[in-house]
């Protein structure tokens, strides 16, 4: 112990003054501006990168000289951690800015109320009404399928599940969340489009449809809904269940009348997040919906469009009118998805069970 104390110069270690860090940052920026930007060696980005590197080097150097090696490592780690954070905010800001700037140029009432029927490569018109309709119908059907199934599955896991089956289900729900969306699309292609749909069509040929897209989305939504509902059901206090049992209520009734309503706001949040994700999925829908250019409000017969495929197709199209359409559709989709996400998060904040 006395040996350790002997190596320390005083009782108080020397620290850099508070103004040192901002001063070093300003110095680094100034030097980078002088040696990179003014002679024209690089643009604003290279200047910024050089400034950051200079700042880091200077900070470490000064800190080693004044505070010692350990404090210098600490300062470098802190600077790097904050730098990582700023680095991550950059793409978010860039995506948001481009979306608003490029999406707004083509966005109009006309765009939201017209389809792409009879719109060729040289036509500037056209809209995404058919795609919006398709996305809403497909996500709606997928919700109708997954919500009862997912909540019932979560009830099984939380209220009834014991033993190997419950463990297996819990484990594979987690695994299923990681299934690539394109594989879900291929599954529905192999199962529904190739095998089942010929049974229903007049000419017994495989048919793409909005319902097939809804099925593919269900495969992706199911594990998310089960997982979030399971977490919410677990948060319901055991005393509520015990109270119900003590009053002579049967178990199924306790679950349906006491446990579910208590967990309802949280479950709704999870479902809304799942819907938001499903609306943005492209790959599975691309393989099974068929992407028609006309309005088709019947999800069970004929090809249907979806917003995400619409963006994909317009982005790949060589027409000069296609990219603005893609951006406007992307803006529509992001607004839809973000509205659902933000509403879900606000709802979660109001719920008493969630943290």
């Amino acid at each position: 112990m006395s040996e350790r104390l002997g190596t320390i110069a005083g009782l108080r270690t020397k620290r850099l003054p508070g103004w040192a860090v901002p001063a070093l940052a300003a110095g680094g920026l100034a030097v980078a501006w002088l040696i990179v930007y003014l002679p024209g060696t690089g643009g604003a980005v290279l200047t910024g990168v050089c400034a950051a590197l200079l700042f880091l080097a200077a900070l470490v150097g000064v800190s080693v000289a004044v505070e010692g090696r350990r404090a210098a490592t600490d300062r470098a780690a802190t600077a790097l951690i904050y730098a990582a954070f700023l680095l991550a905010l950059a793409p978010l800001a860039a995506v948001a800015y481009t979306l608003l700037a490029k999406g707004a140029t083509r966005m109009s009432g006309d765009f939201l109320t017209h389809s792409m029927r009879n719109i060729g490569g040289r036509d500037a018109g056209g809209g995404a009404y058919h795609a919006i309709l398709g996305t809403l119908e497909q996500a709606g059907i997928a919700t109708l399928i997954t919500v009862p199934l997912g909540i019932a599955g979560a009830i099984y896991i939380v209220e009834y599940g014991r033993g190997a089956l419950a463990t297996a289900i819990r484990f594979f729900v987690d695994v299923m969340t990681g299934i690539p969306s394109i594989v879900a699309g291929l599954f529905i292609l192999a199962f529904w489009v190739q095998l089942v749909s010929p049974l229903f069509t007049a000419d017994h040929q495989p048919e793409f449809s909005g319902f097939a897209a809804a099925l593919a989305l269900s495969v992706l939504m199911l594990p998310t809904v089960v997982r979030s509902s399971e977490e919410m059901l677990r948060l319901v206090p055991a005393t509520l269940r015990e109270g119900a049992y003590a009053l002579g209520v049967a178990k199924w009734k306790t679950v349906l009348r006491i446990v579910l309503p208590t967990a309802a706001p949280g479950i709704v949040t999870g479902v809304m997040l799942a819907i938001a994700r499903a609306c943005g999925e492209t790959a599975p829908v691309l393989l099974v919906a068929g992407a028609s250019a006309s309005i088709n409000s019947n999800p069970f017969a004929g090809q249907q469009q979806a917003l995400s495929i619409y963006i994909y197709q317009q982005a790949k199209d060589s027409s000069i009118y296609a990219p603005p359409r893609a951006w406007a559709a992307a803006l529509t989709l992001v607004v839809l998805v973000l509205a659902l996400t933000v509403a879900a998060k606000l709802l979660a904040r109001r719920s008493k069970l969630a943290r």
Binding site: R70, L89, G153, I155, G178, I182, L186, A315
Partner: protein, 340 residues
């Protein structure tokens, strides 16, 4: 009715409450009706829960069944052939180039994303003030909410130009390295695709690592600080070792997402079936992007079967990655559950 509920009450209430807030299943006592509403309800929810297992088995089964005819007609080796000609007179297709591209783009994306993601996670859990951290965490969640097709569009229309500048700079300064040897044009490159992919997996790796970092027991942290550790030394000696399993799992989940990502890569990669480490020039293809790009022309059963076969390989790869990651998380959950 009341008679049965009473027996149910005794059977359920007689047991101690379960750990997770749920009660153990009723039963064990006598006078339990065999075919009551409870039995029905139980059967219904059990079958709903089993759907998950059914779907996983069905995915594997249908993909195998639908790909076998095409694989039988394939005249090239499915695993070592690198081109994709399912419509040739004897169909020839293989996943060598696509599987290589999948691993290459995912690997680069992980290399780029993981250090940044861990930095953000530490920033949110231990560095930023709590109130700010909540808001910034929300911003990262928003990044996760942006659909992948929007990232693809953004990468193709906006990010392509800065990446082309960066590629030219890398080539002129580090051109002697084989990955940077391409003379251009610097469009639709592996670098662009990997960058977009890295941005997309950032939120996943961040949110899970942040969660495990936050779970570090405060006695561990306080002990490190009390021994005179600086903040970084505390993080290195208390937080990182505690969160190691969780970080590995989150990286593997990010890998799983990267391997399966389709549309963003279909929009940003050059779609050439070559096995090459060239990062800057136009090129690159992955299993998933090949499925999305080739599906438009795949109207005959063999072409579709070939795509389904490659999807089966992708499914198998991601299944292995995900099962490993989840097994780590699962073991850890039991471990932490027993200590608290």
């Amino acid at each position: 009715m009341s008679q049965r509920s009473l027996t149910d009450t005794t059977s359920a209430g007689a047991r101690p409450p379960g750990g997770g807030g749920a009660l153990p299943p009723g039963g064990g006592l006598t006078r339990r009706r065999r075919f009551g509403a409870d039995t029905l309800f139980r059967a219904a929810v059990t079958s709903a829960g089993s759907t998950v297992l059914l779907v996983i088995v069905a995915i594997a089964t249908f993909l195998v069944v639908q790909s076998l005819p095409a694989l039988r007609r394939n005249s090239a080796n499915f695993f070592s052939f690198h081109q994709w000609f399912p419509q040739d007179a004897p169909p020839r297709f293989g996943i060598a180039a696509t599987a290589f591209g999948t691993v290459l783009t995912s690997g680069i994306a992980l290399l780029l994303a993981v250090p940044v993601a861990l930095g953000i996670a530490l920033c949110l859990s231990h560095y930023a003030p709590k109130r700010i951290a909540t808001g910034l965490g929300f911003a990262v969640d928003l990044l996760a909410a942006v659909p992948s097709v929007v990232f693809g569009l953004w990468g193709r229309e906006y990010l392509a130009r800065p990446v082309a500048d960066l590629s030219a700079w890398l080539h002129s300064n580090l051109g002697w390295l084989p990955p940077f040897s391409s003379k251009g044009p610097y469009v639709n490159s592996v670098l662009l695709g990997s960058l977009v992919l890295a941005i997309m997996i950032l939120p996943i790796v961040t949110s899970l690592s942040r969660e495990v970092f936050q779970q570090t027991p405060s006695p561990n942290e306080e002990a490190a600080l009390a021994l005179g550790a600086t903040k970084w030394e505390m993080v290195r000696t208390a937080v990182l070792p505690y969160g190691r399993a969780g970080v590995i799992a989150s990286v593997m989940l990010g890998l799983g997402r990267a391997l399966g990502e389709t549309i963003a890569l279909a929009l940003t990669l050059g779609n050439t079936y070559l096995i090459s480490f060239d990062l800057l020039g136009s090129g690159g293809v992955t299993i998933a992007s090949n499925i999305a790009n080739s599906f438009g022309e795949a109207s005959d059963p063999t072409s579709r079967g070939a795509l389904i076969a490659s999807g089966l390989v992708l499914f198998a790869i991601t299944l292995v990655v995900n099962v490993t990651a989840r097994a780590i998380v699962f073991r850890r959950r039991e471990f932490t559950g027993s200590t608290t």
